[in-house]
């Protein structure tokens, strides 16, 4: 099964980013393909490398970066939503990319599932 994920909430404030990650991790472990995680609304703030949580907490941006590097999952932030919230290439994690809503449409078209996580 090929899966796309739409994440609509920022990190830490809501569990959505954690559930989405845990789901993606499990899907990959079970042999499914996670094609992309598309970030929308405040979800775009998941991919700023300026994120610096306390040592004993998970670093959500780093986790997405690793998901890209280890499993080829595209981590995509919506450009319109990013511009509103000050997310730009200068602060973006290495494995992330800023792209348009057309890409989300492609993700919806080319995958067997598009799952939404958010508030």
């Amino acid at each position: 099964m090929k899966i796309g994920i739409l994440l609509k909430e920022g990190p830490y404030n809501h569990q959505a980013a954690d559930t989405a990650y845990k789901f993606a991790e499990a899907a990959i472990r079970k042999g499914h393909t996670v094609d992309a995680v598309f970030l929308y609304n405040d979800g775009v703030t998941n991919v700023t490398k300026m994120m610096d949580p306390p040592q004993d907490d998970r670093n959500i941006a780093v986790r997405w970066d690793q998901l890209h590097k280890e499993h080829g999952v595209e981590i995509l932030a919506c450009i319109a939503a990013s511009k509103r919230r000050g997310i730009c290439d200068e602060v973006l994690i290495e494995g992330g990319e800023i792209t348009g809503l057309g890409t989300l449409t492609d993700i919806a078209i080319r995958n067997d599932r598009l799952l939404t996580f958010g508030d």
């Binding site: 569990q15 959505a16 559930t19 845990k22 789901f23 991790e25 899907a27 472990r29 598009l114 958010g118």
Partner: protein
């Protein structure tokens, strides 16, 4: 169609709204704060029991454990993230945010 609900039924109408639209046989999966819905003896237990006559109901075990919910309504199945993936593999998904 798999329906996921991630809100406490006490703070959001997602539960009440979702169950108006589910079709018989559609599985319902409670995740995140949604898992408070399946705790035994709450205000929504009767409604949920009604749903369970026609629809399989699941709750995400790590979310139950994280919230200290041990006593859940009889007939609710618990799944881990792997089980969540299996449900998604079987059904299209409607995530009631």
């Amino acid at each position: 169609m798999l329906h996921t609900i991630n809100k406490s039924p006490f703070s959001s109408d997602s539960f009440d709204t979702c169950i108006r639209f589910i079709q018989p046989g559609d599985p319902v999966l409670f995740i995140e704060n949604g898992v408070y819905s399946v705790q035994q003896g709450n205000r929504f237990s009767e409604t949920l029991a009604g749903v369970m006559k026609t629809n399989p109901v699941y709750a995400l075990r790590p979310d139950l454990e994280a919230r200290g919910i041990a006593k859940i309504i009889e007939g609710v199945s618990t799944v881990d993230y792997d089980g969540f993936v299996d449900l998604v593999a079987e059904h299209q998904v409607n995530s009631w945010l």
